[in-house]
């Protein structure tokens, strides 16, 4: 639903979102990257399982939560992308795994 106005060019890094390799600009915000994906959402809510996407972009609303490198409920709007970062959309209530 959003697009970037410039091409990151050689500074691009690769982020895996639900296993899919996606190109991002080094140092950019993870929530911004998620908003450029065709899916347009990053989690489903914990009560009605409805899709949610970043809303405030400043760390207040907690809508942009996703699992990042194995850590759950990370505020992606406060997260900077890294090359090789693994991001998973979070479905409903978190499932814990050992």
């Amino acid at each position: 639903m959003f697009r970037k106005l410039h091409d990151p060019g050689p500074s691009a890094v690769t982020v895996l979102i639900d296993g899919k390799a996606v190109s991002a600009e080094a140092g950019e915000n993870l929530a911004a990257l998620l908003l450029r994906q065709p899916e347009g959402w990053n989690r489903t809510s914990t009560v009605s399982q409805s899709p949610r996407a970043p809303y405030c972009m400043m760390g207040v609303c907690f809508e942009c939560l996703a699992e990042v490198d194995g850590v759950g409920s990370v505020q992606t709007c406060l997260t900077t992308v890294r090359d090789g970062m693994r991001v998973s959309r979070q479905l409903g209530r978190r499932m814990l795994s050992a």
Partner: protein, 379 residues
């Protein structure tokens, strides 16, 4: 100042926590006109801050008979208050992490059996793992009570309140009793400009019950607790029973909503005058440590909120239940010291016995107020 007209009732209950509500409910059902005088609002302090464990496991021996009776009531609580209060009987577990913790649990089981109680049962490591697969494999066994469980504190408050209202109890919130005066056979209770009159008064004022007793000229030694609690984000269901552990302050469960509710008696700071209590995170870190030691999968779980609840604690950690030996018409029900939630339903019956029949067949001798009273009238 004596107000022109005081509203009259058969019984006035001071304190609108769960113990005040249950007493009021049983008394109203026995045909008494009852008023609850609550300084803030119904369930303001310990009743809504509680983890709402419904536990017979590991009770003080003096509490076991009434706790077992309360347990039977919890299993049909909807027939008493019209809602199941979110109660589920998935058991309570006291876990031993090390072999050295086992003898104490085994000894307890033997003691209970000798006294004729069969509700506490030892299980070994294999059974423990079968019942709680998410528990850390280092745990070696547990003492469990299979019929125990936990409820939802807010639903419980709402249910008892609703039942009281249907039974005709008058609930007055924002009404703190500040003055007490004897008028004939009645007590006149002053709450600011309002006043209430009743021959019988139930003191269910929790952490402030000592102050209420003092209004009647009684001196009861009473301490305060500010037990800290944590609730996490919602998680997919992975744990049904309530888990505690030998040698550490921990009570760990997952609520119906999926949040982990973690308590166990770690203490914050209570300011009883300002009715405020505060969390001490360095102390609370012990609870987080115990949680992640027992359930390593929860290390990355986020804490959504922490709180403390102010409640009364007695010297011997068992409650004060009974008619005052000094003051006619005054009945005490407080001092539950961090484990009063489970006793709520049976305490209604006990307070009705005491107020209506002036006696009870239930075993409450150990809770006699006199044991903590000072002054010339002390028994």
């Amino acid at each position: 100042m004596t107000p022109v007209s005081a509203q009259g009732f058969d019984v006035a209950v001071i304190g609108g926590g769960l113990h005040g509500l249950t007493a009021a409910l049983s008394l109203a059902r026995a045909g008494r006109s009852v008023v609850i005088l609550e300084r803030n609002w119904i369930g303001r302090h310990a009743s809504s801050a509680t983890a709402a464990g419904v536990r017979t496991l590991g009770r003080d021996l003096a509490e076991v008979p009434i706790s077992l009776e309360a347990m039977e009531m919890w299993h049909h609580i909807a027939s008493i208050v019209g809602d199941d209060c979110g109660f589920h009987a998935h058991g309570q577990f006291k876990v031993a992490e090390f072999d050295s913790h086992m003898p104490a649990l085994q000894e307890r089981e033997v003691t209970m059996r000798k006294l004729g109680y069969g509700h506490e049962e030892m299980i070994d490591a294999a059974e423990l793992r079968r019942l709680i697969p998410s528990l850390s494999p280092h745990c070696v066994g547990a003492l469990i009570a299979r019929n125990d469980g936990a409820a939802d504190p807010h639903r419980t408050i709402a249910a008892f309140r609703g039942a009281c209202e249907r039974a005709g109890v008058t609930i007055v919130e924002g009404c703190g009793v500040g003055a007490v005066e004897r008028q004939g056979d009645d007590w006149l209770l002053g709450c600011g400009v309002r006043s209430f009159r009743a021959p019988a008064v139930v003191n269910a004022a929790g952490a402030w019950a000592g102050r209420v007793a003092a209004l009647f000229g009684e001196s009861i030694e009473l301490g305060v607790r500010a037990s800290m609690m944590m609730a996490t984000e919602r998680l997919a269901p992975f744990l049904a029973p309530v888990v505690s552990v030998v040698g550490r302050a921990l009570s760990f469960k997952q609520s119906d909503q999926g949040t982990l509710v973690i308590g166990g008696g770690l203490q914050g700071a209570a300011d009883i005058d300002r009715q405020r209590s505060t969390v001490n995170f360095v102390e609370l870190a012990k609870g987080a440590r115990a949680s992640s030691d027992l359930f390593p999968i929860v290390q990355g779980v986020r804490i959504a909120r922490c709180w403390t609840g102010i409640e009364a604690q007695t010297r011997d950690h068992i409650p004060v239940i009974g008619a005052s030996p000094q003051t006619p018409g005054l009945f005490h029900s407080f001092g539950y010291s961090g484990h009063g939630f489970q006793l709520v339903p049976v305490l209604g019956e006990i307070m009705r016995d005491l107020v209506v029949d002036q006696k009870t067949t239930r075993s409450i001798a150990a809770f006699a107020p006199a044991r903590l009273m000072q002054g010339r009238h002390a028994a």
